[in-house]
């Protein structure tokens, strides 16, 4: 059986990287005593397929992993809820399972299927130049937003505007729905952004670079990005963005 598991990554543990999380999951499955199917070959690897990498330092309400269980594990569909509890107990502090379901073999992989993710970001107001609210307005009113990015060691000027699917200030209702240590966080302007993950994709730090004034030497986006939280991942179905785990359409729920 293949299962799709969603989990959160909040607090201190956000400073671990994608590879670290992969190792954590391998240990977690063994601690929980749930046998994972292994690949065949010279060095067998557990059959676990990870969703899009979460940047080190970013938090998330919804990270995803597909796990193929070993038939010998004897896990059946009606045991999935109890498995979620076992996994949460075995995961490090700051990570817990938020959803689990059986995943058909025909479903498109997480890496291919996810087309966009929604972020809440706390961005510090720049000392000089326009504030974040007007920067958001500028981006929304522009057909072209240029960002210098490196590809294969060379600098390229990319228009990232098409990849910014939504951008606005976060409202109080959304903020009050966030994890406890986010509520009352007053460091910075809270924004919500839906960013494409197709092709090169756009990282939250890259969005920060276009929201704050340019400087020389270039800014470290982490000087401005106080916290960043992934709250949704989207796949496309019949031309519409739908939540990867629940299948709900984007317009019914942008927040978590």
């Amino acid at each position: 059986m293949k299962i799709r598991v969603s989990y959160s990554k909040l607090g201190k543990i956000r400073f671990t990287g994608h590879r670290d999380v992969a190792h954590m999951w391998e240990r977690t499955m063994r601690k929980a005593g749930i046998a994972v199917a292994m690949s065949v070959g010279f060095t067998p690897r557990p059959k676990m397929a990870f969703g899009l990498a979460l940047p080190t330092g970013a938090e998330s309400l919804i990270e995803l992993i597909d796990i193929t269980l070993d038939p010998a594990s004897g896990v059946t569909a009606d045991q999935l809820d109890s498995i979620a509890d076992r996994l949460s107990t075995s995961l490090p502090v700051g990570m817990s399972v938020t959803g689990i379901r059986e995943c058909a073999g025909t479903e498109v992989s997480l890496q291919e299927g996810v087309v966009a993710t929604t972020w809440v970001m706390l961005v510090a107001e720049p000392d000089g130049g326009p504030d974040i609210a007007s920067a958001i307005e500028r981006v929304n009113n522009s057909a072209e937003v240029l960002l210098s990015r490196e590809r294969k060691g060379e600098k390229h000027l990319d228009n990232i505007r098409p990849g910014i699917l939504e951008l606005r200030s976060a409202d109080a209702e959304l903020m009050s729905s966030l994890p406890a240590d986010w509520i009352g966080e007053s460091v910075g302007h809270a924004i919500v952004a839906v960013l494409t993950t197709s092709g090169r994709g756009i990282r939250p730090t890259e969005l920060v670079e276009v929201l704050v004034p340019e400087s020389d030497p270039p800014i470290n986006p982490w000087d401005h990005l106080n916290r960043v939280l992934r709250i949704n991942q989207w796949i496309e179905r019949d031309g519409e963005r739908v939540d990867v785990l629940t299948g709900r359409a984007a317009h019914t729920s942008v927040s978590a």
């Binding site: 543990i13 400073f15 990287g17 190792h23 240990r27 499955m29 601690k31 982490w222």
Partner: protein, 651 residues
């Protein structure tokens, strides 16, 4: 006592590998500080990835936190990027468990596994906001303590530390806690620091350098003596008599980021009596104390279950010597209930065919490479260093390895050993070429990598009197091996630039005057000296020159029997005359048996401390000749005589 987390948090996304600083490991405790509790900050003066797996630190962390009167947290050296940000913003050294400032702890205890981390210790004490020089500390400052193998000659660190602990820490940390608890209860009043240090000096194994005076006669030491009545003239190391009483760590730390030894470690025995004369670890950890095989098994099963690891390393100084090795391996490897048939890794393997058989048993499908350490290129030089491996042993081991499917072997050698000639150095490549020839009989892909390190003599070993080779001489010898290897098919050579061996040699056998050199190197920015990108030889030479000290006196000069060595008043249990005799025997190319299976030659450790070897088997383990030339492949009889040669001129 507040957490520094809110000040650190904004910095972490800007530094490399921020997971180094967050704690959150499996097995980490939630520290319970409280009135009347002695707070220990256990520090490892290198980066997190290197320090986290350290077993000594994990053991003490757990034992201390089990005590009702103690609490322990951990800290590691912040990498230079975070250190820069911390200094810029006035953030002090912090614990990774609760991100508490180091100054909130009563004891700052460093685990020193090598001399090259000495400057990092100064840096961490300074980052903690504690005066680097011990004499400037007040009763409100924590007690700065060192332990671990590199604390056996603490003299170069005498100016910076309050206390050095010699030997194993399991028992002594409790005794130290009690003394410090009393000091805390008394209010740590003005002037009380000397009193608590004197009280600590009464604990066996605890050395307080400031309570001793050193007098010099020119460059040489004339006398080392206590400055106060009641301070012991000689400090003996501590030894735990039975490892079976200490089944720690019970809650091993499993990190949430990659570290150097990312697997479960279970220590199968402590101590080693093979008697390799260059090996400080073997000399200072005697006698041999095996863990009961059943306890090893339960620690493996329990540790794998707790951590979720699927790999276990059975650690010791020579794991194939563990008398329970076969039974442990055969019960763990095929057992799927023992956490899914874990991979077993066997570091520090002996060189013989039996050992390769063990390695084959645990290797599963993977046959990447096998490592052996003959250490010297000729039998003559191996008798000098007492690494009694015959060529037949090595070729037998290699034969067995290639026949079992391996196609690569790695051979470790030291260069710059006592009495070494170019014939011995050349012998390294001859041995490697011989191994390739053996391998070619099994696979055309057979190749051998030779790894050479420059030898640095250490305190408390028979080679403590030996003048270390100079850096140019080590470079020349490494060059000889490299040149010879270019003409030898199938042999590759790896080496470290020997310049760091000068700093290591200086710190290993230095006296108190070297403290000023260490401080200069640190103030000049010389941290992370084990990392070649941060090591600059000139920094050390300039500091020596500025202090008017001679590198030759400290490093390359041979010492004689009469000389008072800087660690004269400190004992690892070995009689000084045993070490001297063993040094003479070495120069006479005379090997010494392993006393586990032969009559006691009275090195001093067992008799002096009322200890015994704890070995489950009365006969030597199967395999190899144990240097006797006998066939012991099925578990042999007690070796009696070793090959010897009439005396040849000393170095």
């Amino acid at each position: 006592m507040t957490s520094l987390w809110s000040r650190l948090e904004p910095l972490l996304a800007r530094v490399r590998k921020p997971a180094r600083y967050i704690g959150c490991e499996d097995g980490a405790i939630v520290p319970q500080h409280g009135h009347g509790k002695v707070a220990w900050l256990l520090a490892y003066p290198d980066v997190y990835e290197v320090g986290l797996p350290n077993q000594g630190l994990q053991i003490l962390y757990e034992i201390l936190n089990e005590r009702p009167d103690a609490v322990a947290e951990r800290t590691y050296a912040p990498w230079v990027d975070l250190e820069g940000l911390m200094r810029e913003r006035g953030i002090p050294l912090f614990s990774v468990d609760s991100h508490r400032a180091a100054e909130d702890f009563d004891i700052l205890a460093f685990n020193l596994s090598s001399e090259l981390v000495f400057t990092n210790l100064l840096n961490m004490v300074d980052l903690a906001g504690v005066p680097v020089r011990a004499e400037l500390r007040s009763p409100t400052d924590p007690i700065v303590m060192i332990g671990g193998h590199a604390a056996f000659n603490p003299e170069p660190m005498a100016d910076f530390i309050d206390v050095a602990v010699l030997g194993e820490g399991e028992e002594v940390i409790g005794e130290i806690t009690e003394v410090v608890r009393e000091w805390k209860a008394s209010g740590r009043t003005e002037g009380s620091r000397l009193a608590v240090l004197k009280a600590l000096a009464q604990i066996p194994g605890v050395y307080v350098p400031s309570l001793y005076g050193v007098e010099y006669d020119g460059e040489h030491i004339r006398e080392i003596k206590p400055l106060y009545a009641g301070v012991p003239e000689r400090v003996m190391k501590r030894t735990v008599s039975d490892l079976g009483d200490w089944d720690y760590p019970r809650n091993p730390l499993a990190p949430i980021t990659e570290v150097v030894h990312d697997r479960l470690a279970v220590e199968v025995f402590r101590g080693c009596t093979r008697g390799c004369r260059f090996c400080q670890a073997g000399m200072i950890t005697r006698p041999v104390r095996e863990r009961p095989a059943e306890q090893v098994r339960s620690m493996i099963v329990d540790g794998l279950q707790r951590t979720g690891y699927n790999e276990v390393s059975l650690t010791s100084l020579s794991t194939a010597d563990f008398s329970g090795i076969e039974s442990v391996i055969s019960s763990i490897v095929p057992d799927p209930t023992a956490c899914g048939a874990p991979t077993v890794s066997l570091p520090s393997l002996r060189v013989d065919a039996f050992t390769v058989g063990l390695a084959a048993k645990v290797a599963g499908g993977r046959r990447s490479g096998l490592t052996f350490a003959p250490e010297a290129g000729t039998w003559r030089l191996r008798t000098v260093i007492n690494k009694l491996i015959t060529e037949e042993d090595l070729y037998g081991a290699v034969e067995s390895a290639f026949a079992s499917g391996w196609s690569r072997a790695k051979l470790y050698f030291l260069t710059g050993l006592p009495t070494e000639t170019d014939i011995d150095t050349q012998g390294i490549i001859d041995l490697a070429a011989g191994c390739v020839a053996v391998g070619k009989r099994h696979t055309g892909r057979a190749n051998v990598t030779v790894s050479i390190g420059g030898f640095v003599p250490k305190s408390h070993t028979p080679f403590q009197w030996f003048g270390q080779n100079s850096v140019p001489e080590l470079r020349r010898k490494i060059g000889l091996v490299r040149d010879a290897a270019t003409k030898t098919k199938g042999v590759n050579v790896k080496w470290h630039d020997p310049s760091a061996s000068l700093a290591e040699g200086l710190a290993s056998r230095g006296d108190r005057r070297i403290g000023a050199v260490i401080e200069r190197v640190w103030r000049d920015g010389g941290v992370f000296q084990e990392w070649s990108e941060y090591f600059k030889l000139d920094r050390w030479l300039d500091a020596m020159a500025a202090e008017g000290l001679s590198p030759d006196f400290y490093i390359t000069r041979h010492r004689d029997e009469k000389e008072i060595l800087p660690w004269h008043h400190l004992s690892a249990g070995l009689h000084q005359d045993f070490l001297w005799q063993d040094w003479r025997a070495s120069l006479n190319e005379f090997g010494l048996e392993d006393c586990r299976w032969t009559p006691c030659y009275d090195c001093g450790v067992c008799t002096g401390d009322g200890l015994e070897h704890i070995v489950a088997s009365p006969i030597p383990p199967a395999g190899g000749s144990q240097g006797t030339g006998q066939d012991l492949s099925r578990g042999g009889i007690t070796p009696v005589t070793l090959r010897s040669k009439s005396s040849v001129g000393a170095s």
